[in-house]
């Protein structure tokens, strides 16, 4: 259905979106959870974007981080473990006028939903996926997640994990996501910037945010928190100003350079790894296809088309 049919009558200009309007239920996360900071930053991002409130969809699968939609006063959904992306892609393709945000954790995104992640990236629908990575299954009380490091002791790996962890940046770049960025829940400004850029990207954009689970994996990301003796290194992006320093900076359109960044040793760097503005979105490609076929049928009505088809079957 074209979006214009559903658009309400023009109304008076409304007040800008505020955190007060966006806040819904009280978060159920444990005190000290990194996800609080992600939620606060998301409110800021929505304030900055200032989309009409009824045009925003916040969506999630299963996990601690997937409680997100309850806490944001927009359209929302809480869906099957790992299947949030196909559902969200359905919304995005069905209602092109909405802005779809999907939230999830590392288990949701890389374990049970890994298949969907790769294929959503391949299809490139217009939506933003925020992965709150804590490297552990928190909701079920400490099992190994696909991003848990080698040797991590959990209830399903009491002898220390020995399966190779997934490198999210490498996986995402490799699967063809058109915007890939990485941030940290202790760096609010950086997080806001990354989520803002991601939501303004036309296509499938992913932000991985390292968000500590204080209950089941405390100290997981200490070596990227300056306050705890780590170093938070950001990616300097090319400014194309011709200066010699610019040579050193990262070009996010360069897939190979992004891949090299992704291969840097833990905790690696934070910022925009990869951005591909050239690839058309699935939404646009579908519209193109519809336009082409409509042209071929000379914009015949549904009834005309159906009666023609039936006539042929007779």
């Amino acid at each position: 259905m074209p979006a214009t049919d559903l658009a309400p009558a023009p109304e008076a200009p409304r007040a800008p979106l505020t955190k007060k309007a966006l806040t819904a239920d009280h978060p159920t996360w444990c005190p000290g959870c990194g996800d609080f900071a992600v939620l606060a930053s998301f409110y800021k991002v929505l304030e900055k974007l200032n989309y009409p409130q009824e045009k925003i969809v916040t969506f999630a699968g299963i996990g601690c981080s997937s409680r997100f939609p309850y806490f944001v006063n927009t359209h929302g959904g809480h869906y099957i473990h790992g299947r949030a992306l196909p559902f969200a892609a359905g919304i995005s393709l069905g209602r092109d006028d909405l802005h779809v945000f999907v939230f999830g954790g590392d288990g949701d995104g890389f374990s049970i939903g890994g298949n969907h992640l790769v294929h959503t990236a391949r299809k490139n629908p217009r939506l933003t996926y925020v992965i709150m990575d804590n490297s552990v299954y928190g909701l079920t009380k400490k099992q190994t997640s696909p991003t848990s490091p080698l040797g991590f002791k959990s209830k399903t790996d009491p002898w220390g994990a020995f399966d190779q962890p997934i490198n999210p940046m490498r996986t995402l770049i490799n699967s063809g996501a058109t915007f890939v960025a990485r941030s940290h829940a202790t760096q609010v400004n950086h997080m806001v910037e990354m989520m803002l850029r991601a939501s303004q990207h036309d296509g499938f954009s992913v932000v991985e945010i390292l968000s500590e689970c204080v209950e089941f994996y405390p100290g997981a990301f200490d070596n990227s928190i300056p306050r705890k003796g780590g170093s938070f290194q950001t990616i300097e992006l090319k400014k194309h100003d011709g200066t010699p320093e610019d040579e050193e900076r990262h070009d996010p359109t360069d897939e190979l350079a992004a891949f090299k960044l992704a291969l840097e040793p833990w905790p690696a760097r934070f910022g925009v790894y990869y951005e591909n503005k050239a690839r058309k979105t699935k939404n646009a490609l579908e519209q193109d296809l519809i336009a082409t076929t409509r042209e071929k049928t000379k914009h015949a009505t549904d009834l005309e088309l159906l009666s023609k088809t039936f006539a042929r079957m007779r």
């Binding site: 299963i62 049970i112 909701l139 079920t140 099992q143 209830k155 399903t156 009491p158």
Partner: protein, 468 residues
């Protein structure tokens, strides 16, 4: 034997395919890749330079060709021109372990007496499975059944077993298909949403006749529901195991002790009928702690003749659920139907409490059966002749036992934590047995609430007052 005396390797170039494995194995770099094509075979054999060789024979072990690299001492009698002959004629039959066609039987070992343990239900199931010989567990975390898998993760490596935290329930069930196909007792712990996800694999396992035990701690549904107990997978387990003509024995424990005992039985049944078995508990049962007595013996499982043995005698064993020709598939389904009929005839189990003279029969299973038992006792004290009929197998429904009791029964009360799936099973069983049921009342709760003893008692007494 000193290095100078040990025999050195000798290469028959015609038998060497140049795979270079011997080069990797040689610690003294005595072997180099060849440079000339052998005219007899068209391949490039390696070259030996034995000046440094100490006769360690590692290259012989690495060589995949039975007659390629041999010891010099074996060379006698083979001098002269090479004639391509069957190596078996030259060197005798190749040594391959060969097993008999029959099953390798289970080995039962006595356990020492010990005090009863105090365990939660999921742990009791895990220990039962271990005693039944299960060493392969696949799972994905889901409340309220994860603890069983966690216990397995701790114990199994010590017992030469495997616990795999799979990528999803879909992966877990297919790992079970693989392990079960190899003839190994295997299991998973899951709960309702996870069980839904496994059904595709369950259908394939039933089709291919692969044993496996599924422990499903039912929780509230539909969809995401909640993590409190419900009995709303009864329809799924009894009537809806994936697509096609499927059935599996469904066991319903109601105490931690039964969780252990039925887990042991589940493996025996799974292998006896070459079919998955569902152990259907509810959320409270998984978390409930109780006194659990260990059995008198444990089992070291054998290997059934149909399984993957990895030897020549069994290489025709094919595990598959496909039969493209219509006639073949019909035959296969008739075979399955005969199996289902045998199960229905032989494996009905029930626990009857004060049923002999019962006029009001309470039907309940899992945790609600515990409240029902209390209600039955109180009802008896109040002069109502009540009895508890507690099915231990929901499929096959214990209709034979019920048919014996039915003549005296004036009224049935079905107690369940769900909207009537147990009652449907009961009505279906009565209908198939051509028994006209007396009035059937029910006490039903949903959403993770269980029927309370008072509620059940009120229903038991209510109509009695009206009738009397």
């Amino acid at each position: 034997m000193s290095a100078s005396v040990r025999p050195k390797p000798y290469l028959e170039p015609q038998y060497c395919k140049g795979c270079l494995r011997c080069i990797e194995a040689c610690p003294r770099d005595c072997i180099t890749p060849g440079s000339a094509i052998n005219p007899a075979t068209g391949l490039v054999p390696v070259e030996l330079h034995l000046e440094n060789c100490n006769g360690c024979t590692l290259c012989l072990q690495a060589c995949p060709e039975p007659y390629g690299l041999r010891l010099e001492t074996d060379r006698a009698g083979l001098e002269g021109e090479f004639v391509l002959e069957d190596p078996a004629k030259l060197f005798g039959e190749k040594c391959v372990p060969n097993h008999s066609e029959g099953d390798l039987p289970d080995d039962r070992r006595a356990l020492p007496d010990c005090e009863p343990l105090v365990l939660k239900g999921t742990y009791a199931t895990a220990i039962g499975a271990l005693l039944a010989g299960c060493r392969h567990v696949f799972g994905y975390p889901i409340t309220p059944s994860t603890e069983g898998a966690e216990l397995m993760a701790r114990i199994l490596p010590k017992l030469n077993g495997h616990f795999v935290h799979a990528v999803s329930e879909v992966a877990a069930v297919n790992m079970m298909y693989g392990a079960g196909g190899a003839g190994l007792p295997c299991m998973t712990f899951t709960s309702s949403p996870g069980f839904s996800l496994m059904l595709e694999g369950v259908s394939y396992m039933i089709g291919a006749e692969v044993p496996g035990v599924f422990v499903n701690m039912m929780r509230g549904g539909p969809g995401l529901g909640n993590i409190a107990p419900e009995q709303t997978d009864i329809k799924l387990a009894c009537r809806g195991l994936g697509h096609g003509n499927t059935h599996a024995i469904v066991l319903t424990p109601s105490t931690p002790q039964e969780m252990l005992d039925l887990a042991i039985d589940a493996f025996a049944l799974a292998f006896r009928y070459r079919n998955p078995v569902i152990l259907l508990g509810d959320g409270y049962l998984g978390q409930m702690t109780g006194k659990v007595r260990l059995p008198a013996s444990m089992i070291r499982p054998g290997l059934p003749a149909w399984a993957v043995w990895g030897d020549r005698a069994h290489r025709h064993n094919l595990i598959s659920s496909i039969a493209l020709a219509e006639a073949d598939l019909e035959d296969h389904n008739e075979h399955l139907n005969r199996k289902y009929a045998a199960i229905t005839a032989c494996e009905q189990r029930v626990d009857c409490y004060r049923c002999r003279d019962a006029e009001v029969l309470v039907v309940a299973c899992n945790t609600p059966a515990r409240m029902a038992k209390g209600a039955v006792e109180t009802a008896r004290e109040n002069g109502v002749k009540a009895g508890l009929f507690r099915p231990i197998t929901l499929w096959p429904f214990p209709i034979d036992a019920l048919a014996e009791i039915m003549p005296g029964v004036r009224r049935i009360v079905v107690v369940e934590a769900g909207p009537g799936q147990l009652e449907d099973e009961l009505r279906l069983a009565l209908s198939h047995a051509n028994i006209a049921p007396p009035p059937i009342d029910h006490v039903r709760r949903c959403g993770g609430n269980l029927p309370a003893q008072d509620e059940i008692l009120a229903t038991l007494l209510a109509r009695e007052e009206v009738l009397s």
